[in-house]
Symmetry: C2
Subunit: 464 residues, 2 copies
């Protein structure tokens, strides 16, 4: 006998988790589509050269690559994708002449990382990405945040906050301080603000950098205390509703060109989001938000669910200068974001916002011995034809067992036919949760009776 376990770090997704997941995915696809984003699919397997291409992934990610070899193939040539961004860049580089720009695509699929298995961390997980490539328009920046909002609203995520910043503001400030070569270290230090507090960050920003390895280049920031304090002031006060934060930033940052561009961009984006009907209280400026030290060059986004911030960001992204520079010379700026479906589902489950049903059809059709199976089959076909999902229990076992199956699966109602009912062309309609049963309903009223029972129960007529 073979052990039917899955490999370490992988998992099966059972129906109870897949049903809400499919509903979410359907709502996401529908929302992406309503903005004119189009789906693409790229292979799960890419050439290793594409995945490890200079700058394409962090060292951490590259260490986690799954290599793929078929019999007779050459090892070291192929691997599983670790995100959907590298495949997007390759896809656009290859097809941009036919696609034209702006090119707005979404992609939903599995990605693979050989991370050390841990609770809630899997080696295969789903990413949902959308990007607008080939334009620098702030209309696309705003649309990205709008789509994050509309998508999360469409999948019933409770109150959430979209945190916005523009990398140019921090960049401009650091430029004005003369911090050029150590921006990354400064931003890393800022990231610890929540953990070590203002004094801790101040100390790190101003202390002499230490060499990370013998003979290595010294790492870490070192800034005059006054600059570090200005930076921390901006970051600490740079949180909250748009206008106040942007005016504060404007007055503190003065005439620095790059920083002013960042501020102007955020003003335009907030105006556009207002026009788009995104509630202002969903939007939080956060001038300390950096996200991805090198990749992003303009607006950046992170999204947290209010009261569930410990789950981290459930949708993040931003603007980048050039998507496909590893493959082609044509410069392709873009903006996009990713929705963390697995994290979101874990959060929704913990928040008790997922339905616990494990059935996709709300009606169970049960029949007794002595009834021709054509009768339940005909009943179920009629229900489906009127848009009501219906499952026939395939064997005329005891009605108690059939009802037990329905209760376990989560069917809302059962249509039950015994020999007497079949003869009299009637049926019994039972609400599974309450065991309340209406007997002897005329078969001619089937669709209406079931529809109204489901309506009273607040059940969706069909899973999709």
């Amino acid at each position: 006998m073979i052990d039917p376990r899955v490999a370490s770090g992988l998992r099966d997704i059972p129906p109870s988790a897949m049903i809400p997941r499919e509903r979410m995915l359907e709502a996401l696809r529908s929302t992406f589509s309503s903005f004119g984003f189009v789906p693409i699919e790229t292979p799960h397997i890419e050439r290793l050269e594409v995945l490890t291409g200079k700058g394409a992934g962090s060292d951490e990610v590259l260490r986690q690559i799954f290599e793929v070899t078929n019999k007779g193939g050459t090892p070291g040539e192929l691997a599983l994708r670790f995100d959907l961004t590298v495949p997007l860049a390759r896809f656009v580089a290859k097809h941009v002449d036919q696609l034209g720009t702006p090119f707005k695509r979404y992609a939903i699929g599995s990605v693979f990382r050989g991370e050390r298995p841990a609770k809630g961390r899997f080696r295969e997980f789903t990413q949902c990405d959308f990007d607008t490539v080939g334009t620098e328009s702030p209309v696309s920046d705003a649309e990205t945040a709008q789509l994050i909002h509309d998508a999360l609203a469409a999948i019933d995520v409770p109150a959430f906050s979209i945190h916005l910043n523009n990398r140019k503001i921090l960049d401009g400030l650091l430029d004005s301080f003369g911090v050029i070569d150590r921006k990354a270290a400064v931003l890393r230090a800022l990231d610890k603000l929540g953990k070590v507090g203002r004094d801790g960050v101040l100390k790190e920003l101003t202390s002499h950098p230490r060499a990370v390895e013998p003979g290595g280049v010294p790492e870490g920031p070192t800034m005059p205390e006054a600059d570090a304090a200005r930076l921390l002031d901006l970051v600490e006060q740079g949180k909250g509703p748009g206008d106040a934060v942007l005016s504060m930033a404007e007055s503190r940052l003065g005439p620095h060109e790059t920083a002013r561009e960042g501020i102007a961009n955020l003003r335009t984006v907030l105006d556009l989001l207002d026009a788009a009907g995104v509630p202002q209280d969903r939007l939080k400026l956060d001038l300390g938000l950096a996200r991805g030290l090198d990749y992003y060059t303009g607006i950046v986004f992170e999204t947290t669910v209010d009261g569930w911030e410990r789950f981290g960001s459930i949708s993040s992204g931003g603007r980048y200068d050039d998507l496909a520079s590893l493959y082609i010379k044509r410069r392709l700026p873009g903006v996009g974001a990713s929705i963390g479906l697995d994290r979101l589902l874990a959060l929704m489950e913990e928040a008790g916002r997922l339905p616990s049903s494990a059935t996709t059809a709300p009606v169970l059709v049960a029949y007794f011995p002595g009834v021709s199976p054509t009768t339940p089959v005909r009943i179920a076909a009629r229900l489906r034809a009127s848009g009501i999902g219906a499952e026939v229990y395939p064997e005329p076992i005891s009605v108690g067992k059939q009802m037990g199956y329905g209760s376990t699966r989560g069917h809302a109602v059962a249509v039950i036919v015994g020999p007497d009912e079949e003869q009299a062309e009637v049926f019994n309609l039972r609400v599974l949760a309450t065991r309340q049963e209406d007997k002897g309903l005329a078969l001619s009223t089937l669709e209406d009776s079931v529809q109204s029972a489901l309506g009273l129960l607040g059940s969706r007529p069909s899973a999709d």
Copy 2:
């Protein structure tokens, strides 16, 4: 620069192919759900032991396995799944106690085979499977054929034929001839009927078997000519509408128990399919249909599109005796089928039945320089709120270029706003295909005007 090509035998799926594909998948998921089939997902990566488990796959398939190794992992432990059946068996074995039976699942996902690349053959392709596990009821046999019918009808497949047989009929006949150890060879010979004709098959069935390798056991059938002729008569005449074929088979097969069980099963299934409203002319009995020499033990299905038989079967399946015997002792009979999405899409494309659109939103909103971008963003948000997909062109470039973008993408209509229109709170509505434009429509009529223009064009208001 890195070459942005995909690896040999793999492919990118561009929006023009993905949009109809997503529509099909949505219709399939919805149809599966309406019968109470529930979705599951298993990892793309399985333990090699599971994939190569005795009898789990043919030698041919096992030679095509892609092995997977992560850095620090042990080679030879993991591989990519080559179908969705082996993962189903493993999944059911592992979870059957929690799932209960009957368990009706569907699964849609990529599978991987290192086949020699050829036109139309890819190393990664999509399978759409559905199975009912844990019951021997003919209600489930019929439901499988009904679902093939309803699913193909839901995705606008033109006239098609579901070919049905029950393996017990051929098995019974061969048993009655005393052909026990060479059934597989007989069935392989029968498969060639279309190619080599009756005489060719007769010759193969009756000629002396030749040794396949020196010292090896002789392979190939050898039957008395009279038996071979009876077999060929049954197979050649055993095609067509149900009742006639089954009566013919009954009279020819006589009292053989197994064969009679097969005939009775098909009678019941045809009755149930009639009750389910499946048109009789979609169903073709074919007593020569064997499918999968060892795996199937009862009813079997194949489906061809009328006039497109050269594409082969687009949906196949059947009943099996025991799904998970490699992993657990509990016997789990089942029945299921697979829909060949890639083949179906290739056929539909060649048949000219796929829409050529490459957009998911029917409306393009264009604006001139001098118009605030909040205006098109507000217009698009209003359209979406009333269920009409709308894409804002992100930059106010020349209107000719914006219309060119819309025509290429396949938007049905454009809402156009210049500074005068913005001022007067009106808009122009242009049908892209005809360039006909209604000017100066009141912004208050936006949703109604656009809806009615789309209605006249026969456009779907939204892609989903």
